[in-house]
């Protein structure tokens, strides 16, 4: 759980105040309503770091992941890759940089083209990198071995594989681009517990071996906690807390994080956090996003959303109740 402390002054990926607003029309005659899928999200990922993002379904995790990949245009904010602002690069200008960031998706059945064989699927990244012939085959086989698959898979169709194997193949496809960052959007959420553990281990191994950065998105704090150096907690589009994993587990500073932790069983079965009581985006317009469900809400909480502020070294939370002593799931260190 304790990863390398980011020594690099320039983070590999830096999200600065990213927001995404959708206009949603509820009925034919109603005026469209702005729904914030993500609001003012700021976070950095260092080289070789695994940053977890947790939050219940609809909290904006995928929105942030896709904006980071420049697969979704942010409404506001900026994405910096290797210190360069890529927010407004045209698709053309972005192409040579795209290989640096690759994505793994949640649904194993939709992530491989059903009309291509595995060989064709894995050839795509190699060809884009200009690798062909014997070199291509060699690299393909090495990468397959790396994700725990043999050469026999090349001639098969995606539909002949299990969910876990398909995720391994997706990872192999991503690795063949030689990325520096992988955005894993709920990459293990659709898998059995046992297979989840294998894939999480695979990610950890890849990070160690290639000094890969991983943005590991999930709704299950127990799973995300196993692999992440730091964890960012999202609630209804807002980043409410970000801290090194151990610190977050030991002493959460945001009541929502505490709530997520208390919902986690101490051992054994993994479970998803409770579903939201109201649809996302329907909190009081000005107050803290969590105020309606927060047991510690004060009057001031209903008037404005607090900014993410440092509460300890490397630890930031968006809560004005800094006086609270919330309970984690690890014993306090002193």
């Amino acid at each position: 759980m304790t990863g390398p402390v980011p020594p690099d002054p320039v983070p590999l990926l830096s999200l600065r105040g990213l927001s995404k607003t959708y206009l949603r029309r509820d009925g034919l005659l109603t005026r469209p309503r702005a729904v914030a899928a993500a609001r003012d999200v700021t976070l950095d990922i260092a080289r070789g770091e695994v940053l977890g993002i947790v939050g219940e379904s609809g909290s904006g995790k995928s929105t942030v992941g896709r904006m980071a990949m420049r697969l979704l245009e942010p409404t506001a904010g900026a994405v910096h890759l290797d210190g360069a602002d890529i927010t407004h690069l045209s698709e053309q200008a972005l192409r040579p940089l795209r290989h640096k960031m690759q994505m793994i998706f949640q649904d194993p059945s939709a992530s491989l083209n059903p009309r291509q064989s595995i060989r064709q699927i894995l050839t795509t990244p190699l060809r884009l990198r200009g690798v062909a012939g014997a070199d291509a085959t060699q690299e393909m086989l090495e990468t397959l071995a790396l994700v725990g698959l043999g050469p026999d898979v090349l001639g098969r169709a995606p539909s002949t594989f299990s969910g876990g194997q398909r995720q391994r193949l997706s990872i192999a496809r991503a690795l063949l681009m030689k990325p520096e960052l992988i955005v894993a959007d709920e990459a293990v959420s659709a898998l059995d517990v046992c297979v989840q553990a294998q894939i999480v281990n695979l990610f950890r191994h890849l990070r160690d071996r290639f000094n890969l950065s991983i943005l590991f998105i999930g709704h299950d704090l127990a799973v995300v906690g196993v692999i992440s150096d730091r964890i960012a907690v999202m609630y209804r589009g807002t980043l409410v807390e970000i801290a090194p994993t151990e610190q977050l587990f030991r002493r959460p500073r945001h009541p929502y994080t505490a709530r997520l932790l208390s919902a986690e069983p101490r051992r054994g079965v993994l479970s998803a956090p409770a579903p939201p009581a109201t649809p996302a985006g329907q909190h009081a317009p000005d107050g803290c996003v969590f105020s309606a469900r927060c047991p510690h809400a004060a009057d001031a909480c209903r008037t404005r959303q607090p900014a993410l502020a440092p509460v300890a070294p490397g630890h930031r939370a968006a809560c004005i109740r800094t006086d609270l002593d919330l309970e984690g799931i690890l014993p306090h260190s002193n």
Binding site: M101, Q102, S111, N113, R115, S117, R156
Partner: protein
Amino acid sequence: MSGGMVSHGVWRRMTAGRGGVISLLYIGSIVFACFCGPFLLPFGPTSIDLHHRFLPPLAHGHVLGTDEIGRDLLARVLRGGRVSLIVGVVSTVLSSLIGTVVGIVAGYRPGGTRFLITTVIDTVLCFPVIFLLLTLAAILHPGLVTIVGIVTLVSWMEVARVAQAQTVLVRQMDYVTAVMAMGAPDRQILFREILPNIAPAIIVSATLNIARAILLESYVSYLGYGIQPPEASWGNLLNNAQEYLESDPWLAVIPGFVIALTVAMFNVLGAALREAIAPGRRA
């Protein structure tokens, strides 16, 4: 490779159902009959025999009888079928190509391009097809090429719509996003990732389009703007038969029946294909 496996499954499911088997058998037979039949018959489609006019079916070796100048009706129906099938298939191939390109571009490029293309499609669809067809037929010089051209012109929109809807659907699949995230050029995304996945829907739509095109050709030829006598087509056989509807009804009934049956069978084939392909979509 996987494509082969998928089409193998489609073939198996097609031939497992009654509709698929019957329509395939019928279409196979009618194609064979129209293209090879005329060579096996003792009578040519344009050989006039004024001694044997208006013969009823089965008289003097004329299986379907003869017309007003003694030409063998079976030979003419088969010869006409050749023209009708050629028009149906060729115009469908052309309109499917146009429709696929237009639809795929509209589906892939949201915003201005899509709006423009959808507007054009909707505008063209607003005109009653028959009206458009007859206007074009009246202006242009009649003939095989002309009729293929105008049937194509009025029927590419259907495939375009299917291709567009499918492209929108497939474009947001994770496997397409993954390839976009690699920085692949649009051309590669369209032809290698999207096209193979929308092809089944386009094939179904094209099969149904053959039925429509045959019907359109018959209609135009029937009204006298299409294939011109003495060349036969299913439509102009009907045109010819109008005058003798009361005295010699088989001259109209037989070509009419063949047109109806053929159109119905292409529709059945399209439906069977759709059924056979649908389960494969989930994979």
